[in-house]
Symmetry: C2
Subunit: 453 residues, 2 copies
């Protein structure tokens, strides 16, 4: 292993430069910024790593880059590993809260700061650079494929269509998912499943125009109506009150509970690190029980009327909120939407409209599959620390259609180069170069082991 560790170390300057160039290219799906330029850049990155890239754009939505790399002469042509990544990033707003420019990819204190550094440009760079190292040192130990999409941050609305049309291209024996990060104790965290998503847009309309707020004595207020509607959907102690919301949630088995409780979670440390004003909402229970197994309902944004400096005495004509529900296996986003609609109607909020912005079902791999253990074992070697493998991420991604089109028994494990304070989706997103290097080594070791298996 030491020779590979040395080769990876030598690669770091080249790999870092490639990462910076990639992060300096904005690629914001929600705002339709930089998509074509990024597709071109990703294609070049694949070709520089010795792969063949193919831009798939015949299914609607942003293009998907398919990449393939053949096993070398000494490699195993019967084994194929699929990587899933995305080239799009979250919007960088609020811009004034960034210490460094979000598309500057500046390096400070051993960290690369950029929107997308952690989610998910660091990981694609790690993987392509690992392939380059292997290509230059004896060839690839197995076949490798990539699915690199451009709509993950808006809920992957076209990925289903892409996989339905091109399933044959992507067939593989196992899959490495996009992300992962180290916890505060330095342990790489990995997941073998993912939560689903039901992202809702709510609007309330009152009058045709904004009115003088003195009219509040007789005219309903769109902001109040929306506040009351939202408040009716979740209790102060965080129980979701929408009828039937929990119907499809399978009861927790002793095995799942044990798995969650076996994993460490220092709630007090998290509170201090994030500056939380209140205790975690799980009470005395292990937070993993909630992060892994509980569906959520979060207000991601809301807006109405005047919110600038000073006062404006206006009765706003409309109000909006964006709400995301993280789902667990068996919950269906369309069904959740219908239940929210029924809830609003039942409680008299017929002036509040709700629509589905994007939806995704949850997925969980079989934790007993040998590939799962292989990812853990090679991580232990590369990182020199015990990995923490969870059955599911608290976050979301389009894992479900991979199972649907490539086989429900496809083992999928997610691992990556982030750290516990990478601030994905928030200002000052970053990765640490030490993690970047270890993640590269992990991929080298995993590809070699996978070729031998």
């Amino acid at each position: 292993m030491d020779i590979w560790r040395q080769l990876v170390e030598q690669r770091v300057p080249t790999a870092t430069a490639a990462l910076q160039r990639y992060c300096q290219q904005p690629s914001i799906a929600a705002q339709n910024v930089g998509i074509q330029e990024t597709v071109q850049l990703v294609t070049e990155m694949v070709e520089q790593a010795g792969g063949r890239a193919q831009v798939l754009d015949d299914f609607g939505g942003n293009p998907v880059v398919y990449a393939e790399f053949a096993a070398g002469l000494n490699g195993n042509p019967d084994r194929t590993l699929l990587f899933y990544n995305h080239y799009d990033v979250q919007p960088p707003e609020p811009l004034d809260e960034w210490t460094y420019p979000p598309f500057g990819a500046e390096i400070h204190d051993g960290k690369v700061y950029a929107r997308g550094a952690s989610d998910n440009k660091g990981d694609l760079t790690v993987r392509l650079q690992a392939l380059s190292i292997l290509q230059e040192n004896g060839g690839l130990p197995c076949n490798v494929k990539f699915l690199i999409e451009g709509e993950e941050e808006i809920g992957s609305p076209s990925l289903h269509a892409c996989l339905a049309k091109h399933a044959d291209l992507f067939r593989a024996d196992a899959c490495i998912w996009e992300f992962g990060s180290k916890d505060p104790q330095g342990r790489p965290q990995m997941v073998a499943g993912i939560k689903g998503m039901c992202y809702l847009q709510l609007w309330c309309h009152g009058a045709d125009v904004d009115l003088h707020s003195s009219n509040g004595a007789v005219i309903d207020n769109a902001a109040w109506r929306l506040v009351q509607a939202l408040a009716s959907m979740k209790s102060v102690d965080n129980r979701i009150l929408v009828d039937g919301f929990y119907d499809d949630v399978a009861p927790l088995t002793p095995e799942l509970i044990q798995l969650a409780e076996a994993h460490p979670f220092d709630a007090e440390q998290v509170r201090q690190q994030l500056g939380l004003r209140r205790p975690l909402i799980c009470g005395d229970e292990n937070p993993n029980l909630h992060l892994w197994y509980a569906p959520t309902m979060t207000i991601c944004g809301m807006e109405s009327g005047y919110t600038g400096e000073g006062s404006k005495t206006v009765l706003p004509r409309r109000a909006q909120a964006k709400v995301d529900c993280r789902l667990v296996p068996n919950q269906d986003p369309e069904d959740i939407l219908a239940k929210v609609q029924r809830h609003l109607e039942k409680h008299g909020f017929t002036d509040v409209q709700v629509s589905l912005v994007n939806g995704e079902r949850a997925y969980r791999s079989d934790m007993r599959h040998p590939f799962v253990q292989m990812v853990v074992d090679t991580a232990r070697e590369a990182y020199g620390a015990d990995p923490v493998l969870a059955p599911t991420s608290a976050g979301t991604g389009p894992m479900y259609p991979f199972g649907e089109f490539l086989g429900q028994d496809l083992p999928i494990v997610s691992t990556g180069c982030g750290w516990w304070n990478s601030r994905a989706h928030a200002p000052d997103e970053s990765i640490r170069l030490e993690d970047f290097e270890q993640a590269m080594l992990h991929m080298v070791l995993l590809l070699r082991r996978f070729g031998e298996s």
Copy 2:
């Protein structure tokens, strides 16, 4: 009267040009835009009407323009009428909802469109032009004073100090307040009192940074907390739930109820004109009972997290709301603030901070004072329609300190050149030139009658 009607008619082109020039000068107190330029312009307008202007700026806050005009040789030097106006306007946002530029003062279909046209630049122009007409035709029938302030739209925070310091300047026998408008039936609406105001800023802070929304499983959401806090303050059927909020509200007397019910209010017409999605919140009761006598609590604005296009899965670190309460006589804004603070604490919302942006107590004139009837009578002559005089406006203004410093028995009546769809505080604010002309005639007739009384 016909000669005065004719003189007013001849004055319209000059008066309209003066109005346009005044409206083209932005003067946004909340954003500190154009204040000094506007003070200069108002001073010139006073001098052009033959008055003496004095800029008062020794009490903090934006300057107040004091203006005085002496009775002519044939006038009554023992009678003094005070006018109250303000030169500041509401912010013009949202800009993209204006059909014509908010500071363009363009004329379309007999209307002048501008932020401030109705509230309150039209009325100052009307009054100064009426004085010019009288000056040029025999001199003023009485002494006239003006208090023209620059912070009305942010709650007149410095007016109390100005009146405390300069009460002697402003002494008068009666006062005409800033505004008034015609109802859909063409009747000029006037008020002899005003509601108070308690404008609150609420903030909820969760974490130090925005977080990935998957953390919603264990970490509290500032937006949810604020929504729950707000929802705890007002019921779905619009009852304010803050303990003691209604304590100081005097019970309605049969006389007050009769006054309200005697006034027409076509609820269905209002609904249709404003495009309301829901019925008025007063049920089958006369809306005047609520507009005149009921305190309110209105969300003027709220904001949290991401509210742009598409989706962003973020757990916002903070949320804010702006809430205005219109108060009735005896309610004290500081006391209401304290009650809201106690309410939040009692209900566990210690992570929600509330502060008073501005406060004002309510005022009501004695409806039996002869001046009140004089304003009504001259309006009937000028407009050729029966005026509608209410004991109080549903809106707010700093009338209370006028009573406090100039005498609690000072009769104050508000009348002006707006119309029922003037859209004060909203996009496409306008006045109609026909109302502008009639309002000028009303002021000419009132000043003449007042000098004779």
